[in-house]
């Protein structure tokens, strides 16, 4: 189970087409970034891939079978979605939150099994939240919460991890941590898809870019093929100055159109 494919997918809301028709295939073990300005359809596409939303026409396939035809639980065992933030009024502990991630693997009445405990334990270690297991989740900082969310999605042991703006509310150090974590996961064989409006932050982690504008696919491929001057001008309405960095990936420094 390792290929997610959208085929002519279209999503309409309130009479408008907000995404599509769009076709895209994402294979195993990559870290892909969906980028584009606000309203370009990144979040929508991410939700389509995770099975949360169904396309109004066209389909999304997981390894050849349409996601809409399978029960949610089955999909949840393969695809995990990490939302932008968790707003919660209730004081669940981190351990309880992580345990909820095993929903797809448990029946209604089965108690917690050894497999469950192992998965939770591994995920907690992976995301470095083991020391937080007993804390109430609404007492954590933004960065800690984000790591908990990722840990929770790992608990389901999926092949695909989809993250929606994972660094939007984080300070710099935590943002780097999260992205490092994502890259490590990709290197271990998971397919990581990140939707972000700040593509600069992900350039050195991501192997493949998908550029969206107004719900259409503009370009996809490696960084230099996608993030051309022309593309940036058309899609983001700014001009980019590329600055070399020690990390290998360039930094894109932006100027208003016409001033660079």
């Amino acid at each position: 189970m390792s290929v997610l494919k959208a085929h002519d997918a279209v999503v309409r809301r309130g009479g408008h087409t907000i995404l599509g028709p769009l076709s895209l295939e994402i294979g195993p073990g990559e870290m892909t970034a969906l980028i584009g300005p606000n309203g370009s359809g990144k979040s929508t596409l991410l939700r389509l891939f995770s099975g949360i939303w169904k396309p109004d026409s066209g389909d999304v396939f997981l390894d050849g079978t349409a996601i809409g035809t399978r029960p949610r639980k089955e999909i949840a065992r393969h695809i995990s979605f990490v939302p932008q933030e968790m707003q919660i009024d209730f004081s669940f502990t981190v351990a309880e939150i992580l345990a909820m991630g095993r929903y797809a693997h448990r029946g209604r009445f089965t108690p917690q099994s050894e497999a469950d405990r192992t998965a939770i334990s591994l995920a907690a270690t992976e995301c470095d939240v083991t020391h937080l297991l007993g804390r109430a989740v609404n007492t954590l900082s933004g960065g800690e919460r984000q790591r908990v969310l990722i840990a929770r999605s790992l608990v389901a042991q999926p092949e695909f991890i989809l993250l929606d703006e994972p660094t939007a509310n984080l300070d710099i150090q935590h943002a780097l941590d999260i992205l490092e974590l994502c890259r490590a996961l990709a290197q271990k064989g998971k397919t990581v898809i990140v939707a972000t409006h700040d593509f600069n932050s992900v350039t050195r982690f991501v192997t493949r870019f998908v550029l969206l504008q107004s719900g259409r696919l503009v370009a996809e491929g490696p960084r230099d093929a996608v993030l051309t001057q022309k593309a940036i001008q058309n899609v983001f309405q700014v001009e980019a100055e590329l600055v070399a960095t020690k990390a290998g990936a360039p930094l894109y420094f932006f100027h208003q159109r016409g001033s660079y």
């Binding site: 939700r47 995770s50 099975g51 949360i52 029960p71 949610r72 639980k73 089955e74 999909i75 949840a76 065992r77 695809i79 995990s80 979605f81 939302p83 968790m86 707003q87 919660i88 009024d89 209730f90 004081s91 669940f92 502990t93 351990a95 309880e96 939150i97 992580l98 345990a99 909820m100 991630g101 929903y103 797809a104 448990r106 209604r108 917690q112 405990r117 192992t118 939770i120 334990s121 591994l122 270690t125 083991t130 297991l133 007993g134 007492t139 999605s153 389901a156």
Partner: protein, 363 residues
């Protein structure tokens, strides 16, 4: 790569929370038992405990064993036909309302939600008022509870149909529809009441019924509400994990495998059954579904698997006590049950609110 097995740290429950759970039940169960005893033993006519026990033996044990027991007809009727059914109904109503409150608070992701939000209360009242003004409540014991239950179910269906588009029922729309339908149904009830203002005896009874009360509850009422409350409780217990996940957000829940729409449907239906069964036999009793889950959550935490059974027992005990107070505090008049729960629940609710907001300001 080895993972720490964390056996020392039980991943779901810390030692502290298990202790709290055990303590909670260690207090609650005896208190519940005492409340039940007190409610059966105390009433407007004094009856000795030995008599009560004798009546129970007489009624429960087979005939051959009880030939020597002497109990007067009056004692039998008072203990077996008046007090015991009434206490049982009080327990079931409290349990049902508390459980519906747990569901509502999880579904709407808000600890201040309560059972009547999806229109079930308004529907039950309309059903009840109809039974009264049509005169059926005077001729049959079953008409009032049945119409109230039907009313609450029909109101739920109406609310659900109004707020569903393309198979999706957004929770905010559900809430708003519930409020709108409740307002509408109450308006119709008031219309019926005003048109019949001439029949002052019926009007009096309607007003008293709407304030909630367990006067003249019989075994018929027990058999009417208990199956539905038990059904609702079982349905809720089955869905505690769905409740937990829904509390974290619908998208999250969906991504972890919850069939969100069908789950929401089942849960609102369960809440409506519980609320409808309760209102059918007790009229409008407020605050139980709001305050009990909230208070229990403060002690036991938000995990619905622990919260639900605890709220059920606490809600039952709470209402048994309120009913006891309602009938003994100002003899010979009985204070309406809804008033007693409001007098207790109101200040408690305000305290919980202040605590919440003071806490929010401090963090």
């Amino acid at each position: 790569m080895s993972a720490p097995t964390s056996n020392a740290l039980e991943l779901n429950r810390t030692a502290g929370s298990r202790l709290r759970s055990s303590l909670f039940y260690a207090f609650l169960l005896p208190i519940l038992f005492l409340c039940l005893l007190a409610a059966i033993g105390i009433g407007s006519s004094p009856i000795a405990w030995s008599t009560i026990l004798r009546v129970i033996e007489y009624k429960v044990l087979p005939h051959e064993w009880t030939s020597s027991i002497q109990v007067t007809q009056a004692d039998q009727v008072i203990v077996w036909l008046i007090r015991i059914p009434r206490v049982m109904v009080a327990f079931f109503v409290g349990a049902g309302l508390a459980s519906a409150g747990v569901i509502m608070q999880a579904l709407f992701r808000n600890p201040l939600a309560e059972p009547s939000l999806v229109g079930a209360g308004g529907g039950a009242v309309l059903g009840g008022v109809t039974a009264f003004v049509a005169g059926w409540s005077a001729t049959s014991v079953l008409s009032l509870p049945l119409l109230a239950m039907l009313g609450s179910l029909l109101a739920l269906v109406l609310v659900y149909v109004m707020s569903t588009r393309g198979g999706v029922t957004p929770v905010t729309t559900l809430l708003l529809s519930g409020v709108a339908v409740t307002a509408l149904l109450f308006a119709i009830s008031n219309l019926l009441i005003s048109l019949n203002i001439v029949n002052w005896q019926i009007e009096q009874e309607i007003v008293l019924w709407m304030m909630g009360g367990l006067d003249a509850r019989t075994w018929t009422h027990v058999w009417l509400c208990a199956p539905f409350v038990l059904l609702g409780l079982v349905a809720s217990l089955i869905q505690t994990r769905d409740l937990d996940l829904l509390q974290l957000g619908e998208e999250t829940a969906a991504s972890f495998g919850v069939e969100v729409e069908s789950s929401k449907r089942m849960l609102t239906l369960t809440a409506a059954i519980l609320t409808g069964a309760a209102v059918a036999v007790s009229g409008m009793v407020g605050f139980v579904g709001l305050v009990v889950p909230h208070a229990v959550r403060l002690i036991l935490g938000p995990s619905n698997r622990r919260l639900l059974p605890a709220s059920v027992l606490t809600g039952g005990a709470f209402l048994v006590v309120c009913d006891l107070i309602a009938r003994t505090i100002h003899p010979p008049t009985e204070i309406r049950l809804g008033i007693v729960t409001a007098l207790f629940g109101g200040p408690l609710f305000i305290y919980l609110l202040l605590r919440r907001y003071r806490g929010a300001v401090n963090t």
